[in-house]
């Protein structure tokens, strides 16, 4: 009985030792992998920092202004280019708009007021 118990315990101890060894081995491997991952993360983060700095550099307002004037022909907005909703030309249903604006007695005095958004949208269609 004692001999059996001793054997069982010895076996258990051996298994535990083996298990411990393999766990330790795996942990060491994981730790190495972790260090590598950390290094990789670090490198990526540094890369991001560099790219952010470069992005900020490329976004210098003077550079953007130069590129905009070269490729887009944009100029700063003028105050007159802003209008409120109440200043938009009145919206009319397409059916109403089909008759020539000048023939209508109630039509606006200025034909330029009546042309516009809808008419041009229709011609495009």
């Amino acid at each position: 009985m004692t001999r059996l118990m001793a054997t069982v315990w010895l076996l258990a101890a051996g298994i535990a030792a083996l298990g411990l060894f393999s766990v330790k081995h795996r942990v060491q491997g994981l730790e190495r992998a972790l260090v590598q991952e950390r290094q990789a993360i670090q490198e990526v983060r540094e890369g991001i920092d560099v790219l952010q700095a470069e992005w900020s550099y490329l976004n210098r307002p003077a550079e953007i202004a130069r590129l905009a004037s070269k490729h887009l022909g944009f100029v700063p907005l003028e105050a007159e280019q802003f209008i409120g909703f109440e200043e938009l030309p009145p919206w009319r249903a397409p059916g109403v708009d089909s008759s020539p604006p000048n023939s209508s007695p109630q039509g606006p005095a200025n034909p330029a007021d009546a042309t516009p958004l809808l008419a041009s949208a229709e011609t495009r269609q």
Partner: protein
């Protein structure tokens, strides 16, 4: 060992049970059977001890791992969100998150010439990648007998990559960090710069040195880079047009005291501050103090109205110059008649303003200027802050000259902040360069009554509609303000040919959001301005263009002609209804 012990003392029980042997009835074995049992017991005991020890060690280790070392593991696990570069310095951002200053790891290239096999070939390849070094220099360095030689410090990432690709033996990199200012000279005076060890030497870099070193969180300034750029461009254009030696400008948020733009020209490259001349590194907006001239009439008029010594309906005869001791105070463009208070303000009459200041008195003037923050250095977060220059003693003649902005010098930042107080319902909010946290509202301090502020807003708007500041009128934005042209002090007297021309204003005047200040140092008039180099001709147009360009960016809607007219009518205080300007 055990067996021997058992043999030598056969009557002793190794488990210590012998002490009980007399009281308990124990089976006592003799001979080989006893010996076998004794051996078994001993072995059991030893094994037990060994296991107890082993489990104890494991327990101790468990405690160590889970409680003591465990905290370090947790910290390491968060590592990736920690610093990217060891000993890094936090970034500085503008209010929209654009990077103004950042710390980047850089590689510095060095060589061990003893290990370089083909110095000529290596030098030829390197010369194509490195900048500012000739092939001959590189050959000489690589051909030497030393074990260490710097080839280039702080490589760009592209150079780093290219040299790695070359794969020349004997070359290696040393990792270093370097402070980078991607926006260059744009906000150099505010941001400042650092020394080679990344310690702040000027600007925010210096005043927040400890904060930047101690944290990873970027420091967000109140500056808006776009506004900063616009103001810089317009001031540069004004400097060019009038062949000026310098310029300064500010945009302040009236309600929060935030500085949106702070421009000092000429400027410098913060990457190479050592190469800039001293004047370029000088921050004119916070460190420079100037006699501001007529823009001070804003404060004199506001004080007189607030004290109640005059009302908008009052006025003075300005036809005669004021003589005090050996001084004569005249008007730049004399009107030679009685002028009402609004007229005195918009035509910028020195004589009328002096009358107002004298009625209010010296103590009153001192008290108001002090409460406006003009008599003590600005509390802005910069190390470069100028002490205002005050008269000592403060005599009557000083009161007179200060009323129209001479005999007292303040920094543009103090001035702009004081004007913000006037238009902000009379509530003073200290200027700041740091973006406040959401919901954080600075504590204001009342200087003028709401009524005074309302009257002043109307007067400043009139000054732009009909007065000296007409060229600042950006259509639809209801700009109001005051021009100033001050003679510069050279040595102990005023120079007749050197001016400081300025304009300070706010917009939109029905509910002021921004204060804008522009100042040009020693402008020279040209034919297009009929030889004039006054604030109205030099600084006001720059302000108009800046307002027109920045307002849409900061979300201000321009008012169309009719709406703007209606708002202008609404600005007129009840006490001045029906006011008309006399023909001029």
């Amino acid at each position: 060992m055990t067996r021997q012990t058992a043999n030598s003392t056969p009557h002793l029980n190794p488990c210590g049970l012998d002490s009980l042997s007399e009281r308990q009835a124990l089976v006592v074995l003799e001979g080989s059977a006893k010996q076998a049992l004794e051996t078994g017991r001993t072995r059991l005991l030893v094994a037990g001890l060994v296991f107890t020890l082993a489990f104890f060690v494991i327990a101790v280790r468990l405690v160590d791992v889970s409680l003591i070392t465990g905290t370090a593991e947790a910290r390491l696990a968060q590592g990736p969100s920690g610093p990217a570069t060891a000993g890094a310095r936090a970034d500085i951002l503008d209010r929209n998150g654009t990077i103004l200053a950042t710390t980047l790891p850089t590689a510095s290239l060095y060589a061990n010439p003893r290990e370089v096999r083909d110095p000529r070939g290596a030098a030829r390849q390197l010369a194509r990648v490195l900048t500012g070094v000739s092939e001959a220099e590189l050959t000489a360095k690589l051909d030497s007998e030393r074990a260490f030689v710097w080839l280039q410090r702080h490589l760009t990432p592209r150079q780093h990559d290219a040299i790695n690709r070359l794969g020349i033996p004997g070359l290696d990199f040393k990792r270093e960090t370097k402070r980078i200012y991607p926006q260059g000279a744009l906000a150099a005076h505010v941001v400042g710069f650092t020394d080679i060890d990344n310690r702040g030497l000027a600007g925010i870099e210096r005043s927040f040195d400890e904060v930047l070193l101690g944290t990873e969180r970027p420091l967000q300034l109140s500056l808006d880079l776009r506004v900063q750029h616009i103001l810089t461009e317009e001031l540069l254009a004004a400097m060019d047009e009038f062949r000026a030696i310098g310029a300064a400008g500010l945009v302040l948020d009236v309600r929060s005291g935030e500085v949106l733009a702070s421009v000092s020209l000429p400027t410098f490259d913060p990457a190479q501050p050592g190469r800039a001349v001293t004047e370029a590194r000088f921050n004119r907006t916070s460190l420079g103090i100037y006699e501001m001239g007529s823009v001070f009439k804003i404060f004199t008029t506001a004080m007189a109205l607030d004290e109640g010594v005059v009302t908008l309906a009052d006025g003075y005869d300005v036809s005669k110059p004021i003589r005090v001791a050996r001084y004569v105070i005249r008007d730049f463009k004399p009107k030679n008649r009685w002028l009402s208070i609004p007229e005195i303000f918009i035509y910028s009459s020195n004589i009328g303003t002096v009358h107002m200041a004298m009625e209010a008195g010296t103590p009153s003037q001192r008290a108001y200027l002090e409460r406006l923050g003009l008599t003590h250095p600005s509390g802005v977060e910069l190390p470069e802050v100028g002490d205002p220059l005050l008269p000592s003693p403060w005599r009557e003649i000083n009161t007179m000259t200060i009323s129209y902005g001479h005999g007292m010098a303040v920094s543009p930042l103090q001035l702009a902040s004081a004007v913000a107080t006037v238009v902000n319902d009379g509530e003073r909010i200290p200027a700041t360069l740091i973006k406040p946290l959401p919901g954080e509202r600075p504590l204001g301090e009342r200087v003028f009554s709401t009524k005074t502020s309302k009257a002043m807003r109307w007067l400043m708007r009139l000054g732009v509609q009909h007065g000296t500041g007409r060229k600042a009128d950006a259509a639809g934005f209801l700009v109001g303000g005051k021009t100033g042209t001050a003679d510069k002090v050279t040595g102990r007297r005023y120079a007749s040919d050197a001016n400081i021309s300025s304009f300070v204003g706010a917009f939109p005047m029905d509910a002021p959001r921004y204060v804008i200040f522009a100042m040009v140092d020693e402008p020279k008039g040209h034919d297009g301005t009929f030889g004039y180099a006054t604030g109205g001709w030099v600084a006001a147009p720059a302000v108009r263009r800046t307002v027109e360009r920045m307002a849409p960016l900061v979300g201000l809607e321009p008012r169309s002609g009719q709406v703007a007219e209606g708002l202008d009518q609404g600005l007129i205080p009840a006490s001045a209804k029906g006011f008309t300007l006399a023909a001029h």
